[in-house]
């Protein structure tokens, strides 16, 4: 049965074209799906279990989508709620939804799909040989798992289907694969599985697969042979090139995409322009495999304090590397003497902004910058220790001279104090999959009805 999936944008919080969304609703979709997350901005969101987008931006866009859902009379699904898709961010999204339901006077059945994993469950699976490393994988043990602040499993189509099967108007899902929220309904209705996963991958970034990437809104129609993709903003077009090129995006293999329960192979896919705007894709293959779900985990990797100074004096700009080398050696000794900390108990690193701070040892170019920013990064085992080191090094970062027989220089500090406490430094700690007997084994559904008297 043909299934029309409306995707308002690549992620909730980034905006979309409202006229295009209205056009999408008028075109009678079977479901509206939007992604709420990604690992792309780093481990902080998962580490803390918080959203990277503001509550205000999230709520204003979710309001538009809840209104669109009410008008279309079809389910609305958000995946990877609150960036990281932990239980805490599912609850955050649920709370926003309850507020909006009251403000809009909507009566709703809401399903929450939870993806957080207790470390004990993963440790048990690890002991049973059911947690497998991907390449490259950090070392994992019951101990490292217990030290993680959050672990999530990425749900696939089956768990989203279970949430839809409750008859929910809105599904607020924790971590899912980017594609699963889109492929779930077409697969449940018997559309071609290869086409469903491929179309979902093409649509997961919204209009990124079109000639007008920032317009957001696209419609994908799935059927028994493949799918047809169409951007809905004025002037946006999908071409065989723009669509097929999207398989390259943020994907290490442009032909294969691993999902829970198998993989998608697009080696033999054919892309055909139906007209100026629409592209039809057939020949994509779904290859069933073991039922595994990917795991993501984060842990605290230390506590940081940073400091920033700007060198403008030409002699220091030219000798900036020599200056930080000498300064580093001097401070290492000062920290040892005054705090009793040996260099292996913390790290102190200076990066030269204007020289090689983005690429480090990979940088091949040199130049003659007007000024150099010196970014000092202190990482210690407690926040207090990091702060103390920051305070200790502050006057030397301000005044340290290149030679002994010169008047003390004073560099430019951009603010007071020059050091800033960054708090915990989180790091990604899992690149593994976990095998399940049943797709719902590691996931949990809660269904509530709101707005009914």
């Amino acid at each position: 049965m043909p299934t029309r999936v409306l995707v308002p944008s690549g992620v909730l919080g980034l905006g979309f074209d409202r006229a295009a969304l209205a056009r999408g609703v008028a075109a009678r979709p079977d479901i509206i799906c939007i992604d709420g997350g990604s690992t792309d901005s780093g481990p902080f969101s998962l580490g803390t279990g918080t959203s990277k987008y503001s509550r205000a931006a999230t709520k204003s866009e979710w309001r538009q989508l809840m209104m669109a859902r009410a008008e279309a009379g079809v389910p609305l699904v958000i995946g990877s709620s609150g960036t990281c898709g932990t239980d805490a961010t599912v609850d955050w999204m649920y709370e926003i939804t309850l507020e909006l339901a009251a403000e809009l006077g909507q009566t709703l059945k809401i399903a929450r799909l939870y993806s957080s994993q207790p470390s004990g469950r993963v440790a048990k699976a690890l002991a049973a040989g059911r947690v497998m490393p991907l390449t490259p994988a950090p070392h994992v043990s019951a101990e490292t798992l217990a030290a993680m602040t959050n672990i999530v499993a990425l749900a696939g189509a089956e768990q989203v289907q279970a949430a839809l099967a409750t008859g929910a108007d809105i599904v607020i899902a924790g971590r899912t694969t980017d594609t699963a929220i889109i492929s779930a309904l077409p697969i449940a209705r018997g559309d071609n599985a290869g086409g469903a996963w491929h179309g979902a991958k093409i649509a997961e970034c919204g209009a990124q697969c079109s000639t007008y990437p920032t317009s957001g809104v696209i419609m994908v129609q799935f059927d028994e042979e493949g799918f047809t993709v169409e951007p809905l903003a004025d002037g946006a077009r999908c071409t065989p090139h723009s669509v097929s090129a999207h398989m390259l995006y943020e994907n290490s293999d442009p032909f294969i995409l691993y999902e829970p329960g198998g993989h998608l192979d697009v080696t033999a896919s054919r892309y055909q322009a139906l007209d100026e705007r629409r592209v039809r894709v057939t020949g994509s293959k779904w290859v069933p495999g073991r039922y595994t779900v990917k795991l993501e985990g984060a842990r605290v990797g230390g506590y940081q304090t940073t400091i920033m100074a700007v060198l403008r004096e030409a002699r220091y700009v030219t000798s900036a590397q020599e200056w930080i080398d000498k300064l580093h050696a001097y401070l290492t000794e000062q920290i040892r003497v005054r705090m009793g900390l040996s260099p292996d108990a913390y790290t102190l690193e200076f990066r030269l902004i204007g020289a090689n701070s983005a690429l480090g040892a990979l940088e091949r170019r040199t130049g003659s910058p007007v000024e150099i920013g010196v970014l000092g990064l202190v990482t210690a085992s407690t926040a207090e220790e990091a702060e103390e080191i920051g305070k200790l090094i502050n006057p030397f970062v301000l005044h340290y001279p290149l030679t002994r027989d010169e008047e003390l220089p004073t560099f430019a500090f951009p603010y007071s104090p020059a050091q800033s406490e960054r708090g915990a430094l989180y790091e990604f700690a899992l690149n593994h999959v976990m095998e399940l007997d049943d797709p719902m084994q590691a996931f949990r559904l809660e269904v509530t009805e709101v707005g009914r008297a």
């Binding site: 690992t39 490259p136 390259l248 293999d253 230390g302 701070s357 690429l359 990979l362």
Partner: protein
């Protein structure tokens, strides 16, 4: 010698998850694709990113005139030593690589 970035339509890089970087070279035409495919060795790219070449995956996609490289991130995204959270500046190294005509 001309730089790769002057010959092709676009070079971009991005994380492919927290543990991988992927670099796409959009050659823009079959002619440029054929030329770059010949002159850009996997070893040169491995050297540029200081990666063992056996860890570097190379894909050639004639239909798109694209050459793609993927490799494990030199440091995991967001870890203490990371300098570029999204990995998008890595592409500049390839853009600036000088290639024989």
């Amino acid at each position: 010698m001309p730089r790769l970035g002057d010959r092709v339509a676009r070079v971009r890089s991005k994380n492919a998850g927290p543990f991988w970087i992927t670099v796409d070279i959009f050659c823009g035409s079959p002619e440029v694709f054929a030329a770059v495919r010949q002159s850009l060795s996997t070893e040169a790219v491995a050297d540029l990113f200081q990666q063992p070449s056996q860890l570097l995956k190379r894909f050639e996609i004639p239909d798109l005139a694209v050459i793609k490289f993927s490799f494990p991130r030199p440091v995991v995204q967001g870890s203490r030593e990371d300098r570029d959270m999204h990995g998008a500046q890595m592409a500049i190294l390839l853009e600036e690589l000088e290639l024989p005509e």
